[in-house]
């Protein structure tokens, strides 16, 4: 993830301390959701 540069960017998110960490968390949750959808698809095939 690229580093943010503006002063407003320096305000941290309420969790995980940095925005990059939060973005990775969102991507991880998204990956889990897609995996669950895949398992759902396979289970009912």
């Amino acid at each position: 993830m690229p580093k943010s540069s503006t002063s407003a960017d320096k305000e941290n998110p309420p969790i995980l301390k940095t925005w990059n960490r939060l973005y990775w968390l969102i991507l991880a949750i998204h990956a889990v959701i897609i995996t669950l959808f895949y398992l759902f698809t396979e289970f009912y095939k």
Partner: protein
């Protein structure tokens, strides 16, 4: 519809309107009116973004789509979280740094006035037409189902929303959308629960889902790389990212939602919240459609879901043929009852061969019923060649109005009206903001008082509301209007996205080059579209988005390079 349903529906809708007006009663300057005092927390922004995107057609069509084609449509949204993250990193900081009212304002600081004005006008043309369709599309479904007058339904949808959007501006849009989204989610959840309870006593929830799975309706993820398949993992992850980047990054109706946030972090959290909630929410809406599918395996569904079409057939010389098809449809339904119960028993026994046999028997009956429905559609076309025979949009509303208990019908109608109102209010608000900021105040009336611009913002909101209502009221005069609007959108959308991509990522390209590139790209797109109309080339209109976008980038780079060479030659001479 019962009196109780009317009371519930009107109470919910009026309650939201009054709440919106009450919360925004102190708005007295143009910044508050257009940017809502910039005091919204992330959850309001997130819900507002979701409500803007989810129109009434979403809640009418999506369950119907799951009923007909299964749950694969969920993949359409797979690119959303990635697009939200890219916007948080690259786009939001720039908009916040420049403290803009509209996305197009940024284009003036990056390029020049003419590029900003061109892009704003392209947006107004496209979104102005779409606002009419946002009202028209659900109105035609509701008026057909309930026998209401189309114009009164359109008025009912439009007038409420114009009143609170005019009175409270952006803040009214956002605070009402929060309530509307809550009503929508509660309504859909209750509908799902009640449909499960309406299944026959000998069919458990697990049996119901298993039947849908055996019928191939529960394929959410498809990893096949098939370019002709509209919904796969790859179309969602690749095409979806571009689509959502352009929609959320350059369409003022969305940009305005997150620009009214309390701070950059709040706006970012709002976008991320939308990115992560949207996919499961869409899964839920599709799953409601699956439950309706299973429900109609045990309750005989109408032979055609658009009752207005059936009524016309009943009063025509084709009535006898319709009766014959109805008898066949009932017989197939009775046979299907036995076949489905055999399938459930086979599934429980876990014997592969008997499962396959039972599955095939059910599938054959479903195909037989499909053929009967197709014959009905052909009859409808014979009786009225202009009739719309696709009845997918009528499936969910039929299940709601015919089989759900009194009270819940009113709540679910409030859901549909809320969804229509939430999208329309964002559109009117964005159209008024772009008209006042990018055209009126910037190029026509430059030095007036704040009060003057506030009043003009309200007048522009009324004007765009009136245009949307007029467009919705006359929409039925045109053939296939929704497709026409999508085509017009595709002609302009690619160029708008191309201008923004050049602005964000091709820093060497200047104002003159991108303006010229946009004009050339737009001309080429219109030429391709015209050639397609006369069948000299064959290209689906959705591709025009991609072509327009790449042409702006390509010509932008070429013209900029040409410009540099020209300047170099002049300097050398």
């Amino acid at each position: 519809m019962s009196v109780i349903d009317w009371i519930i529906m009107l109470a919910v809708l009026l309650g939201i309107v009054v709440y919106g007006i009450f919360k925004t009663r102190n708005i007295n300057n143009v910044q508050s009116y257009l940017l809502g005092d910039k005091d919204l927390p992330w959850w309001t922004i997130g819900l507002s973004i979701m409500a803007t995107q989810a129109s009434a057609v979403t809640f009418l069509s999506t369950p119907g789509q799951a009923y007909s084609s299964g749950m694969g449509f969920a993949q359409f949204y797979f690119g959303m979280p990635i697009a939200m993250i890219l916007l948080c990193i690259f786009v939001l900081p720039i908009y916040y740094k420049l403290n803009v009212y509209t996305a197009y304002e940024y284009l003036e600081s990056r390029f020049d006035l003419k590029t900003r004005t061109l892009t704003a006008i392209l947006f107004l043309v496209q979104r102005g037409m779409a606002a009419g369709i946002t009202i028209y599309a659900p109105s035609i479904v509701l008026s057909n189902i309930f026998g209401w007058s189309l114009n009164i339904t359109i008025l009912l949808m439009g007038v409420f929303v114009i009143i609170y959007t005019v009175m409270g501006g952006t803040k009214a849009v956002s605070v009402t959308q929060k309530q509307q989204m809550i009503v929508i989610l509660i309504g859909m959840l209750l509908a799902a629960i009640i449909i499960v309870f309406k299944m026959p006593n000998d069919i458990s929830f697990g049996d119901a889902v298993s039947v849908a799975g055996k019928m191939g309706k529960l394929e959410v993820v498809n990893f096949d790389f098939d370019l002709s398949n509209r919904y796969t993992f790859w179309t969602g992850m690749i095409g979806g990212v571009f689509l959502f980047l352009s929609y959320f990054g350059t369409d003022q109706s969305q940009v305005q939602r997150y620009l009214s946030g309390k701070s950059l972090p709040e706006s970012r959290l709002g976008l991320l919240f939308n990115g992560i909630i949207k996919v499961p929410m869409q899964f839920l809406v599709l799953f409601v459609g699956i439950l309706v599918f299973v429900f109609f395996q045990f309750t005989n569904p109408p032979i055609h879901f658009n009752t207005a079409n059936i009524k016309n057939l009943e009063n025509s010389p084709y009535q006898q043929e319709l009766n014959r098809l109805q008898i066949e449809h009932n017989m197939v339904f009775d046979q299907k009852q036995i076949a489905i119960r055999s399938l459930i028993a086979a599934t429980k026994s876990n014997e592969t061969q008997s499962i396959q046999q039972a599955q095939q028997a059910v599938q054959n009956l479903i195909n037989e019923d499909k053929n009967i429905r197709q014959e009905v559609k052909q009859l409808i076309k014979k009786q009225n060649p202009k009739a719309e025979v696709n009845d997918d949009d009528y499936i969910f509303i039929t299940a709601v109005t015919k089989y759900l208990p009194v009270g819940l019908i009113g709540l679910l109608l409030a859901v549909i009206f809320s969804a229509a109102m939430s999208s329309t209010s964002s559109e009117l608000n964005a159209l008024a903001t772009t008209s006042i900021i990018d055209l009126y105040r910037r190029s026509f009336v430059k030095h007036q008082t704040d009060k003057h611009y506030l009043n003009m913002s309200k007048i522009f909101t009324i004007l765009w509301g009136a245009i949307a209502l007029l467009f919705a009221a006359t929409a039925s005069l045109f053939d296939n209007l929704i497709e026409a609007v999508n085509i017009v959108g595709s002609i302009f959308y690619g160029t708008i996205l191309g201008i923004f991509i050049v602005a964000f990522f091709l820093k060497k390209v200047g104002g003159n080059a991108v303006f010229l590139a946009a004009l050339v790209a737009e001309m080429i797109v219109i030429t391709i579209f015209t050639l397609d109309q006369y069948e000299y080339v064959k290209i689906a209109y959705l591709w025009l988005n991609l072509i327009g976008c790449f042409l702006v980038m390509f010509f932008g780079l070429i013209f900029q390079a040409g410009n540099k060479i020209l300047i170099k030659n002049i300097t050398t001479e």
